[in-house]
Amino acid sequence: MTEERLIISRKTNNKFFLMIAVGVVLLIAGIILMATGGGGEHHAEGGEQAAVEHAATWLDRLWVNLWLNNVYFTGIALIGVFFVAVNYVTYSGWYTLIKRVPEALGYFLPVGGVIMLLVFLFGSHTIFHWTHEYLYEIDDPRYDPIIAGKRPYLNTVFFLIRMVAYFALWIGLATWLRKNSVKEDLEGGTDYYHKNIRISAVFLVVFGVTSSTAAWDWVLSIDTHWFSTMFGWYVFSSWWVSGLAAVTLAVIFLKQNGYLKMVNANHLHDLGKFCFAFSIFWTYIWFSQFMLYWYANIPEEAIYFIERTNARGYDFNWIFFGNLFINFFFPFLVLMTRDAKRQMIMLKIVTIAILIGHWFDFYLMIMPGTLRGEASVGLMEIGTALVFLGVFLLMFTKGLTKAALVPVNHPFLEESVHHHV
């Protein structure tokens, strides 16, 4: 088995830098537009009521955008590690050829951690209502007994401790897995494989708890009064399906550029099945959460979905229903046949749709609780997303180039080469 190495040319790297540069330019243009008064854009008339009580500045919008993209991309990076861990623990053979792709996704985690920390330290008041001190002072007219009751969990110090702990655990275990995986390339044998199974098992337990609590911390606590017992699952399913789409898309791009020669339609078929199945899984979680609140129709619960459609001057209707369409109906109908899952062009279209769709899913989770009626997809949103995508791709490709593209001494390599479905 010859070692296959990815070479990222200066030209490709420049493309990523260009992406970041374009993003920055758009972002600055968006900021200037907003600072000079064009901010609310076409939502101005509807958002009047909301605007009076909470006028968002360009800085607010920047923080929220950074947070949104960081949660989304960190999730994808984390799913890379989760994917590897799951396949270790289940003794999977089929994925060996593409194993380095999800492994390399994890390279974004440290960047995500730093950005998460910085944005929280400087922009927490914009993103999280519960960080305001006055909510907890009984004498203050703005005292909020419900939020005050959540203080033991939702306080800045504990929040920061948790955030650091999540990233420390995730990055630590991811690095350990990766290190063993690379060592296996050099030294061979099955020792590293068995070691990694144990590390993966630990990671899965950690992930099982932290993916849920991270979802509460970073996304759910934005709507501080509201709660959902499904929320951890909901964020996980959104991350998971976008992570799978990212892995599939990366494999296809690598293959179309002449790498991963031994990956064939059978591997793509399995990845396609993953994307297909977990799009349905996401919908299942989405619907389970939605239907109970819709049916019970209790004001403090239903408000979450009212804010996400078009009541109270908010205008999220298109995104709310578009979310279902692009993340469920589209992948469901397009990837239903066997042929579609085995064709690169179909998978490419669907995975790109899923990635965009789940970005909007996070948009819908974060924006209505922060920017309220003033949220819209403008230059700033596109710019920030492009910057993050560029940085993510830089880290990801850096991870890919650091080791052989196919793990040469993995015990299941042979099985993966002959994978047949």
Partner: protein, 174 residues
Amino acid sequence: MNKKFVLGIYDDEDVLLTAIENVRAAGTKIYEVFSPYPIHGIDDVLGIKRSRLPIVAFFCGLFGTCFALWMQIWMLGFDWPMIIGGKPHIALPSFIPVTFELTVLCAAFGMVITFFIVTNLKPSMKVNVFDKRSTDDKFVMAIEVKEGVTDMTALNNLLRSNGAVEVNEKEVVK
């Protein structure tokens, strides 16, 4: 009416797969191959067309979806309108679980029933077991002998040269 078959017995999966390729390349039509367990890739080698069962599943599922929606909309919206939980008569989200279940049920039953019909699988079905060892440790390739052919040496040689450990003949009452 009796039909005559030539049976090539193989004891190795890989030998069998190459044998199938060679026999088919020589222009001989293979009636059926019997194996104790499913063999990866044998469908392609035998040139068996892909099953059309998924198409049946899709339309059965579609029927289930339509039936479930129609049933609920007609029952709760027109035949006997009721207000439940202050929702409109036709409250689509509350219909989804039933719609989902009926879709799955119809798709599954539709597939199974179609499979039974197409394969003629019924309690009275009579199965010809060409060689009982094909349920144990041997692979059996059955080739139907054309009407009027009496000289088996060519077939015999073809099978043996492709790794058959035994070649038998068998007459089957059809």
